[in-house]
Subunit: 428 residues, 2 copies
Amino acid sequence: MIEIVAAKDMELKDILSRDAEKAEDVSQTVDKILENVRLFGDKALREYALQFDGARLEELEVTAEELQAGWEAVDARFRETLALARQNIAAFHEKQVRQNFVMAEQPGVVLGQRYTPIERVGVYVPGGTASYPSTVLMDVVPAKLAGVKEIVMATPPGADGSVDPAILAAAKIAGVDRIFKIGGAGAVAALAYGTESVPRVDKIVGPGNIFVATAKRRVFGLVDIDMVAGPSEILVVADGGCDPAWVAADLLSQAEHDRLASAVLVTDSRPLAEAVAVELKRQAALLPRQEIARASLAAGGRIILTDSIAEAVEIANAIAPEHLELAVEDPFALLPSVKNAGSIFLGRCVPEALGDYFAGPNHTLPTGGTARFSSPLGVDDFVKRSSFLYYSREALGQVADRVIEFAQREGLAAHGRSVAIRFEEKQV
Amino acid sequence: MIEIVAAKDMELKDILSRDAEKAEDVSQTVDKILENVRLFGDKALREYALQFDGARLEELEVTAEELQAGWEAVDARFRETLALARQNIAAFHEKQVRQNFVMAEQPGVVLGQRYTPIERVGVYVPGGTASYPSTVLMDVVPAKLAGVKEIVMATPPGADGSVDPAILAAAKIAGVDRIFKIGGAGAVAALAYGTESVPRVDKIVGPGNIFVATAKRRVFGLVDIDMVAGPSEILVVADGGCDPAWVAADLLSQAEHDRLASAVLVTDSRPLAEAVAVELKRQAALLPRQEIARASLAAGGRIILTDSIAEAVEIANAIAPEHLELAVEDPFALLPSVKNAGSIFLGRCVPEALGDYFAGPNHTLPTGGTARFSSPLGVDDFVKRSSFLYYSREALGQVADRVIEFAQREGLAAHGRSVAIRFEEKQV
């Protein structure tokens, strides 16, 4: 099911399946849907709800009554779990909130930077089997903390026109302002262009299938989008002191996501490598989603043997995994040498699942090696910076020559004149 | 040359020319260039240098001797101006540097967030008439402050195979590590894929023509890119107390950039509006680039009359301009009501040119209304966040039920098992 290879015998680029880009091209279909929603608005959305979700909808928006009914349909225990998760997520993301700054260090000169929230944000939440209340919390809580004025959720309805109560409960706890029963590329179009009933947003976040991802790429620029996530990935760096059963369980928790998911173990211990391979076989057989898990381990699964844990971390940095577990004796000592990873799980008792749902850090993370340059979803994704500057006329006078000289060098005379004219004798 | 319209008689979407997207489609040409550089590396780059720049190159990289020669070819006064600008830009951007944080508020639980610099960054610098040393400083200084290990500059050579000395001097002062004589889509390809002599980077920033912009879009995902900038824009909010000559000069400093540039005045004073219209005519005639300035004023120029300055700011927020001047009596009082703008110039003596070159805030700003959701280039663009979490086994035990419950709700049994297994009796 999974092969053990020595680090020196392999090419890093072969380690993770990074074929998200090569996915089926659906752009023509998506373009048609975008166009129809742009032109026909709600009418098109209703047609797509019938066509794709089998739902005959009058109202596209979830009513207060439906929201309340969904809330009550969820047992008190899970509502409490949702509330605790929200609390942990909020506690972590509050620390990300930025402060404005101002500089007044030279006479007559004030410089600064302000943060303002993005006005209106759309959160896409997939339906069906991939309906994840945790995603609602992870996407909405940072937006609320950022001060976003209105958060609009889009999620496809079931054939009976209803929305999963767990999703509604999570939306209520997270503080979503409006919820629409729209899915796929049509939902992205509605959020980007606006329709009679769906307000146009400034940014669209949230996971989705290839149609949703393609639609997000298409409307990017008109609105902002979060990352277009590829298949989920875990890389576990483990030393010989690990329990192979625990390591295998963590790898499988990634492998069960989908066939493209990648689960990689990097260890300096051959005994552990071999024991984990055995455990993967044994435990996979116990899983309801064992077919998916086996398929993704066969395709994207690897066990890599290194000469040292330091070499294992180098490999992790080169791969830049979405999730990195440091299942070693002293994980905090290794942390400084980690350069590229979305979220880092420290120690032998910190399975990825803890972060996926509950601990507080975001679970929307850079995939496909993009952790080399991008970050987990956070409050930063829901604000923007503006810089500001004030100079007194005297202060401007002191630098006027420099600015004019620069303008002349760049062949932009009017730039220079706009400074010089402030010191000319009045013409009239 | 420019029309005066009342705010109530117009549609906001018509105000700014936002046709950057509709620019000539060059994707086929660009795809071919990307492919050739990917396959043939330096050989392709040399061919394109000959074909597009008329330069016959042996070495693609600028040598230490060339760099020094360029440095000496620039007069001492301008080298000093570059150094002062660098100092101001560094002083402002230092304030943007992020701090890691760690939370240790529950027993056995440590959460945190670390910043790590992007490893290697490519900075594209256009050649020819659009060769701007200020851009070198604005792109490189924040990257240095972010801790980027290697900064690689790409700029097209002249027909004699040389690079503009002012660009080399700026690169030296800013601290660029390596400089290559490569331009256009080929340069973007070289930075994204790497060649025999050009190292592969993790992120590409910097302005460029439609070929460069298209190539950046194409390689986005494989590497990160900064914004793809549209035509430059200024919106001046001015009250009746302004000198029309100054306001006109500021509008013209934007209009001279290119024919697509937009210069908009919004004022509550008809006398000012009329006087500025007259001044625009008069001053345009004095400009070396008067044809460009007249063309862009005719296409994208507007003077908008409002009933109040408050209404003027509302219009500014709806347009979300790249540059916003608040040329009013008390600009600081207006600042809090500004929601969407890239950079804000406060007062009557703060022409945009001051920020373009010298004051310190970045001049790479969101265009085309993207200030609704994006920010000026800054240190944030050269670092990425990673979150980390540690739980002791006891701490995990206390939340295990919640995590397992969540996993079951989402139909991901293996996620739950990865937690449960840490508390099972050993099988062996």
